[in-house]
């Protein structure tokens, strides 16, 4: 089968074509790279490391309505996700795509979460391979990912300099390939080989690593270990590490009323907040940041693997890059290994 490429001068055209769907791409806002719904292709910015906020916000919005109602009326109007229509995420990094696959486990476990799953179904992920690790704190190779990982992607783009190799991986990807038809060109004969070389080079450029083997089994034995006090001492209890984590999926549910209209909505929540586990009685089973940090690490590296056989961390490095006080999950895991 002949491979296709997307020439860089045609990216704008391709985005224009895709903007007939609900199209998201990285975009620069005041120096911060964030996913934004793209109507004008020039808003997109494909020359980026990784977005500050992960792509999870597209399938799992920070705030979303579950249903609406009028006060005193028993009729509850369910939010129809179908209406949002086909969605394309253009330029998602392989780690963020992998994270969605991990979170899928949770939202389809036993009870099916209709909002998340419907959105996942409607969404096509066009990945952009990491020629270079976006940050020095990338450690995807330690947790089962790769800079060129195709896992969970529908299309993988590889930057070959003048053009992107366009690799359709799934049926959704093939469909997108058809949609883009005229914007794509035949790939030069060496494109695939070149991409393979780049992949090998990218892998060795990941500087920070950790051997995660055995951590899920070891964590429960370290419950009362003094390391938790040490690693959480500087914690401010903010939500950066969790909100910006592509696999963190906790949410809160709140009712909101305006006049006679109301809605029940869910919004991201963070296990690092005191209110997260606070009982109405005032009792808090996780009273300090020590317990909360312990829970965060355990959830990612022990509880989640024990339920779904996969570590709930993709090594994107966001929690390390953006922690205000340099709490470093790799250092914590290192201490777990050494303990």
């Amino acid at each position: 089968m002949a491979e296709k490429v997307l020439k860089k001068e045609k990216v704008g055209e391709a985005l224009k074509e895709l903007s007939k769907f609900r199209l998201f791409a990285p975009s620069k806002s005041n120096g911060t790279i964030l996913y934004k719904q793209i109507e004008d292709p020039s808003d997109a910015c494909l020359d980026f490391g990784n977005t500050t906020v992960p792509a999870k916000k597209i399938v799992f919005p920070q705030t979303e309505t579950l249903f609406r109602f009028m006060l005193g009326n028993p009729e509850l109007k369910e939010k129809n996700v179908e209406e949002e229509g086909t969605t394309v995420v253009f330029g998602i990094r392989p780690c963020d795509a992998r994270a969605m696959g991990i979170v899928d486990n949770l939202f389809s476990w036993d009870y099916q979460d209709p909002y998340y799953l419907k959105r996942r179904e409607l969404t096509t992920l066009v990945g952009l391979a990491c020629i270079q690790p976006p940050s020095i704190n990338c450690f995807c190779t330690s947790v089962g990912g790769e800079p060129f990982s195709e896992e969970n992607l529908d299309v993988l783009l590889v930057d070959l300099g003048e053009m992107y190799l366009f690799k359709a991986i799934t049926e959704k990807g093939e469909k997108l390939k058809t949609t883009l038809g005229s914007q794509l060109d035949e790939a030069p004969s060496d494109a695939v080989k070149k991409s393979g070389e780049l992949a090998d080079k990218a892998n060795v450029q990941i500087k920070r690593t950790i051997d995660t083997k055995g951590i899920p089994e070891k964590l429960p034995t370290l419950w009362e270990n003094e390391l938790w006090k040490r690693v959480s001492a500087a914690c401010l209890g903010c939500g950066i590490c969790t909100y910006l984590c592509p696999t963190c999926h906790c949410f809160d549910i709140q009712d909101e009323v305006e006049g006679a209209e109301g809605r029940r909505a869910r919004m991201w929540d963070s296990c690092m907040f005191r209110e997260y586990t606070l009982h109405a009685s005032g009792h808090n089973p996780r009273p300090t940041r020590r317990e909360r940090t312990r829970n965060r690490i355990n959830h990612k590296y022990s509880y989640f693997p024990s339920k779904f056989q996969v570590i709930a961390c993709v090594g994107c490095g966001r929690c390390i890059n953006l922690c205000p006080v340099n709490i470093d999950i790799l250092e914590i895991l290192g201490q777990v290994v050494d303990a």
Partner: protein
């Protein structure tokens, strides 16, 4: 520049004192040029302590951040002092906390660090990308970066944090031990950024702030890092009544940011931590400094200078300006 050997000696002496239970200082970070808070409980741990232009955190936040759990029956609370290392700007947070009687003066032991400025870590990492481990030192008006076995010198004004370029109080205003010679004021604030913003039209102003606030993800790091935001139960977390809903949209985000900034009116001491920690780069100091300037102009008040001062909004003068009142 503080001599790190001397710093360790002093720290060792302090933590060995019977009336000190904890010393909060800085230690090297886990990657790049970073430094991070260090919590020293015994003299074996002082060797990791450092001070360098990478030590940006305001450690006075930790004095009010400790979460206390009920003590087991028969266990007495540990009332010994907490020693804390503070730069000039950080020390003003201590002063303001004392003005508000957040804790007793006897509760703390202040190790003052006269400071010639700290770096803006984002600028540093832009300048030297991909460095796994390195150190920063200050020599005269230059910053010296050592990494991968080499050294590079950069004039300090290129990489200094913005707050340092406006710093009026480089020497701590409160201290029990001063770790270096006093530093003369080397900068001042002309509020040019504030005046520029004020010069815009109403529409331009809102367009600017709407874009800024719409990026906010409400992680609350700006609140949590703030040494002056120490309410145990924040009004913005309350469920009854709800002042700022948890849903993230422009309306609630605006209310969150107005409330946060307003609660710092006459209290913000310009350490710039909120702006530094914001993951989506909202220019929060542009909000705080507006209040700072107004308070200075209208009431001739500068927070965090004198422990004996009364908080701005719990005092008044009969002659306060009121030209806008009908």
């Amino acid at each position: 520049m503080v001599d790190n050997a001397k710093l360790k000696d002093v720290a060792k002496e302090v933590i060995s004192r019977e009336d000190v239970r904890l010393l909060i200082g800085y230690r090297p970070g886990t990657y790049g040029f970073r430094a991070r808070p260090a919590f020293v409980e015994n003299s074996d741990q002082v060797d990791e302590l450092i001070f360098s232009p990478a030590c940006v955190s305001n450690l006075s936040s930790y004095l009010t951040l400790e979460e206390k759990t009920p003590l087991p029956r028969g266990v007495e609370p540990d009332l010994r002092k907490v020693a804390v290392m503070v730069k000039g700007c950080d020390s003003r947070a201590l002063v303001q906390q004392l003005v508000e009687k957040a804790y007793d003066r006897e509760h703390i032991l202040v190790l003052g660090i006269p400071c010639r400025g700290v770096v803006d870590m984002a600028k540093v990492e832009n300048r030297f990308p991909g460095v796994i481990s390195g150190e920063i030192a200050m020599e005269g008006d230059n910053l010296v970066f050592s990494f991968d076995g080499k050294e590079e010198t950069v004039p300090k004004e290129e990489l200094l944090a913005e707050k340092c370029k406006r710093c009026r109080y480089p020497t701590p205003l409160i201290s029990d031990l001063l770790l270096d010679d006093e530093v003369e004021r080397f900068a001042d604030d002309d509020y040019s950024d504030i005046t520029a913003m004020e010069g815009k039209s109403t529409e331009e102003k809102w367009a600017f702030w709407e874009e800024q606030f719409s990026r906010c993800i409400r992680c609350y790091s700006c609140r949590n890092v703030c040494p002056m935001c120490y309410c145990e139960d924040c009004v913005l977390d309350r469920l009854k009544p709800v002042w700022a809903r948890r849903s993230v949209d422009i309306s609630e985000n605006t209310v969150y940011h107005i409330s946060r900034a307003y609660h710092l009116a006459g209290r913000c001491i310009q350490c710039g931590e909120c702006e530094r920690v914001c993951p989506v780069d909202i220019p929060l100091m542009l909000l705080n400094r507006k209040f700072y300037r107004d308070v200075e102009e209208l009431y001739d008040y500068e927070p965090g200078i004198k422990v004996e001062e009364k908080p701005l909004l719990s005092t008044f003068s009969v002659d306060d300006k009121e030209d806008f009142i009908l």
